[in-house]
Amino acid sequence: MTDTIVSYLAKFGPFKDLLEFLTESYGANGPTLFAFLIFLVGVIIIVTILSTIGGLGTYAERKISADMQLRMGPNRVGPYGILQFLADGVKMLMKEDIVPKDVDRLLFFIAPMLALTGVFGTLAVIPFSSGFTLTDLNVGVVYLIGISSLVGLAIFLGGYASNSKWSMLGGMRGASQIISYEIPIVLSILAVVLLSGGLSFGVITRAQGGWPHEWFIFHNPFTFIGFFVLFIGSLAETNRAPFDLPEAESELVSGYHTEFTGMRFAFFALAEYIEVFVVCGVTAALFLGGYQVPFNLGGDTIWGQLLQLGAFFSKTLALYYFVIVIRWTLPRLRVDQLMTMCWKYLIPIALFNLVGAGVWMWLFKGKSLFVLLFKSGTAAAGIH
């Protein structure tokens, strides 16, 4: 059975009463209505929080880059300039919406829509805590890979529809980069599925533990390399530097969103920053134990849930910080280096990791490296 936030909440007092009331009033439609209400509230909460995080992401990006370059960064709007993203949003809302004469109007309208839709779609399966997962699909990982490729489509359509040479180059580069780096990502996710024996994020997270030695990243040497393959692939998938070729501002003006102004551009930017959060969250859930808290502190109480949320968000935001620092540290790759990196390094490494993880599982009956070392240590101590 698939766990959802609805089946989780229905176990508790006030929600149980509400469910009974709705079932009495509407008969067989009661549970569906109940599910609809809970999902609606959950969706609105998640979208609001994630949009705020996306907005704060732009602020964090500018502030951290300023810090690294000995500048002040935004410091006028609100305390420490923290409301800068709201001011930017209002400014973009009031900008003229310029649609060039030669564009493909339908695709030009659809492209930002697809970008945001693809990113929002991934939010349905992100495991924020054991209870607060909108719907824990039993094919969660496959669903996530599928729906997130809508963003790649949006980038290509944005570049194509603009009928501008800069946009076209950016869109083409974006499409080839995103499809290429999808393969190492899928292959390193396959290694995690191999270890946990399930495709849903709940199964994968529960197969890990709260302590670092129970995380999949330290399960065996192959997953340790797999983590970095996934992380590099995610950087390329979200068009973050050093893989920001589709929007390389020093060669392609602004890449695939050169012709987009005002709110259309704002939605592309928002989708990009939320997507960075999503890939960081997925990496945390797959390799860093997700919402698991040490000492089994995360339970079904409200404090347990808050601790789990804290664990998930601290891991994810640490990765987010790392992603931003990488952007302001490394120079951009060339197109041929980008392709070499993917096809000649990451994919062979990822294939080797997948076989290696399988052999490890078969040889050591699924025990992690730590368990093996600890067991042999105690056995040796017992002999002497």
């Binding site: 698939t2 959802t4 549970p31 569906t32 599910a35 999902f39 609606l40 959950g42 969706v43 979208v47 809302l93 009031m94 003229e96 310029i98 649609v99 060039p100 829509m113 945001l116 839709t117 929002f120 779609g121 349905a124 909108l134 719907t135 194509y160 009928n163 501008s164 040479k165 800069w166 946009s167 076209m168 083409m172 499409a175 499809i179 999808e182 393969i183 899928v186 292959l187 396959l190 599925v193 270890l195 024996g197 399930g198 050169t258 012709e259 005002g262 709110m263 939605f267 041929d336 392709m339 070499t340 096809w343 000649k344 994919i347 062979p348 997948l354 076989v355 052999v359 599982m361 078969w362």
Partner: protein
């Protein structure tokens, strides 16, 4: 509480609809009220750093992108085929059939690697094909170098 099969897909539908509506309503309705609208011919040109654009951008494009797409499709389909195998691996391993699944997986990956090695040898993984590679292929097809 038991949920019907379709109920678990409800939030996905909601999120997708929300994405469409958010962009649609903001761009078409809200922003239209507050933003200025005074187009002129120069503003409506495609941006090419101040030059008048020559021709359309929808023209012939570099062949390399097509080859990359072709290789991607093969790899993507094959990695999709591996998902069900690795999903059952753990439970098969627990009843002692892990070796069997592993051998099947390795055979499959070997074929995949053979394909990758072929593309690599042919020079299709190089963004810029080297001069030697194109010379070799010309010799093979009997086309003289002019």
């Amino acid at each position: 509480m038991s949920m019907s099969n379709l109920d678990i897909y409800m939030p996905i539908l909601m999120l997708l609809l929300l994405g469409v509506l958010l962009v649609g309503i903001t761009v078409v309705l809200i922003s239209k009220v507050v933003r200025p609208h005074n187009p002129n011919p120069v503003k409506e040109q495609a941006y090419e750093c101040g030059e008048d654009p020559v021709g359309s951008a929808w023209s012939l494009f570099n062949m390399r992108f097509y080859v990359t797409g072709l290789i991607f499709i093969i790899f993507d389909v094959e990695s999709a085929l591996m998902f069900p195998v690795v999903a059952v691996f753990k439970s098969m391993n627990e009843i002692g059939l892990g070796g069997l699944v592993l051998i099947e997986l390795i055979i499959f990956i070997t074929i995949l690697v053979a394909g990758l090695a072929y593309c690599w040898r042919k020079g299709d993984l190089d963004w810029v094909k080297s001069y030697k590679m194109s010379e070799d292929s010309k010799e093979g097809t009997g086309i003289e170098n002019d």
